[in-house]
Symmetry: C2
Subunit: 346 residues, 2 copies
């Protein structure tokens, strides 16, 4: 009897997707007994200086558009065809902006082996007034997968990971066997992985942290000191935990001690665009959409968006009072409440 090796496909090729492709390509070569050599990466085809980006990547072994200066392993093959990328794959890594998830899943319907082991590195949630959708669950449902989809999240700035700076990340996976495979696929001496059994908690942390970062930015903008900021980070972490435990089953306290919890929150509240734009909001009084134009070339800020969605969701469940920090961020950003509301009624 021969053991079938795992064939890995990566869906997405942005900054984070490219950093992850480097790690996956290297680990696949390190474990030939476990993985097949080639790793296909779906790259949304676009023009790069007059050439197709996939051609540039496959010839230069670098993604000059989204991760310039970082060499990608030879076994990572950029592939413009989504279906072809996933063909025969036994493991799929979803690492793309959340607004593309549904379209990609629709294109993949019936084309993916239902027993594939999938993991989501997608940041963000879809929050409707009456429900919260996790993209990992959305992927599993739309592709009719038999295993629950895992999630990876942590204090991981793509460029620092690509430069092999030491950091940690957390994988939430309900299957011990799949968890071990994902650990082999992602873990390196500089990219430390803890595998835990709580994918929901891992994924929720990755989205809710941005609301807390907005509070931290407002605190910075007001010139409050390290004490106040640390208090807001701590209270924010506790509201993230309360939110997760109030509306989802199986979320564990220890998850918030992991890289996806406390560590990612610290990083996001130290640097990070959400903190930065919120600081400018507090200092200049300019509306967020103006600052998005000025500071993010019109890109939407995730933290304020999530704050509004969370507010609508909590209002629907009549639970805004149970989350005073989330509520304060919403009221400061969208209801012109005084800035120091973020440290009131906590």
């Amino acid at each position: 009897m021969t053991i079938q090796k795992e064939r890995v496909g990566i869906i997405g090729s942005g900054n984070w997707g490219s950093a992850v492709a480097k790690i996956i390509g290297e680990n696949v070569q390190k474990h030939p007994e476990t993985f097949e050599y080639p790793v296909r990466q779906w790259v949304f085809e676009e023009d790069y200086k007059g050439q197709p980006l996939t051609k540039v990547i496959n010839e230069s072994h670098e993604n000059p558009k989204y991760l310039p200066g970082i060499r990608l392993p030879n076994n990572v093959q950029a592939e413009p065809d989504l279906i072809k990328t996933c063909e025969d794959c036994t493991m799929l890594v979803f690492v793309l902006p959340h607004q593309f998830v549904r379209g990609v899943c629709d294109d993949l319907q019936g084309k993916v082996n239902p027993s594939v082991k999938a993991i989501s590195l997608i940041k963000g949630l879809e929050i409707k007034p009456d429900q919260v959708t996790l993209f990992s669950q959305e992927i599993g449902r739309r592709l009719h997968l038999t295993h629950p989809v895992a999630a990876l999240s942590g204090a991981n700035i793509a460029d620092e990971v690509a430069k092999e700076r030491f950091c940690e990340s957390t994988i939430g996976c309900t299957s011990a066997q799949a968890g071990e495979l994902f650990h082999r696929l992602f873990a390196t001496p500089y990219f430390r992985i803890n595998v835990i059994g709580d994918p929901v908690g891992v994924e929720l942390c990755g989205a809710l942290k941005n609301v807390v970062a907005v509070a931290a930015g407002i605190s910075d903008g007001l010139g409050y000191g390290d004490n106040t900021k640390a208090a807001l980070i701590r209270i924010g972490l506790m509201e993230m935990r309360k939110f997760a435990k109030s509306f989802f089953g199986g979320v564990e306290d220890v998850t918030f001690f992991e890289s996806c919890g406390v560590a990612d929150l610290i990083t996001t509240c130290a640097g990070g665009r959400n903190r930065r734009v919120a600081e400018a909001f507090a200092k200049t009084g300019k509306p967020i959409d103006v600052l998005e134009k000025e500071m993010l070339n019109g890109q939407k800020l995730q933290g304020t968006l999530t704050a509004m969605e969370v507010h609508q969701f909590l209002t629907h469940h009549q639970m805004t009072k149970a989350f005073p920090l989330f509520d304060a961020v919403y009221r400061v950003i969208y209801e012109k409440a005084p800035l120091d509301t973020i440290v009131r009624n906590l």
Copy 2:
């Protein structure tokens, strides 16, 4: 039957002691049904511009030497006599440098009501190769107190607290009734107090955090990014928890989610002298004692001292390997190990 009111004494009058005296004096006035109006504060008598410091404080209602520019409430009375300060007190607040604790306790032997409710705001531990001494327990033992001594610790930079900037703190107290009294004594709208049942965990956090701050400073000195620093803070928090649970009973996981745990650690690793000196150590290669002279006017750095004591203690218990970050800090500072040891073998 008349209910006896609480008479509060404060032992210590440095920067933190003075900030705390302001809060206590105000809260005592807010709760006349609970506390007697006068609050005596023991001030080590010294000369201030030709006058006794106690006289200056009592006339100006300000401690110009240790907390200039902050008004102290009228009911706070600076008292040069330690015994007189504690006379008839039913509540005692110990807020002095740890090297003075034993001397003060010796002077107070037999002079303090054994049923007094005492709380320690003292930072640091006495770690000998074979045992760790908590100052709260040391105080209780030396004064033969009948109630366990409580502990207060949190992300509290004295000057920011004195300026009434929002922050949090944690009180560890095994008695619910005493805990409620301490809450009434310390809590304000800008100084938020959580009372928990784990005084040992609270006190340990306040000392061990400084070892982690040294690691954070070395990381900064090496130019590592936010990811790495957040990882070191998280791993440090987990080693603090492991140390507390390995060598002390009754320590709870949740304690490390409190202000004394994660929040104080974040503040200490963001600013703070331990981080700053360690950063200079990594950048200049100068020995710590030279940097102490240059940066701290010869004062000893707590974090490196604690790192050595912890190392001796762990060596005695043959458990250095179980605390790779604490061990790495010791080896980098005292054994000339390469700086990047702090991110190896974690």
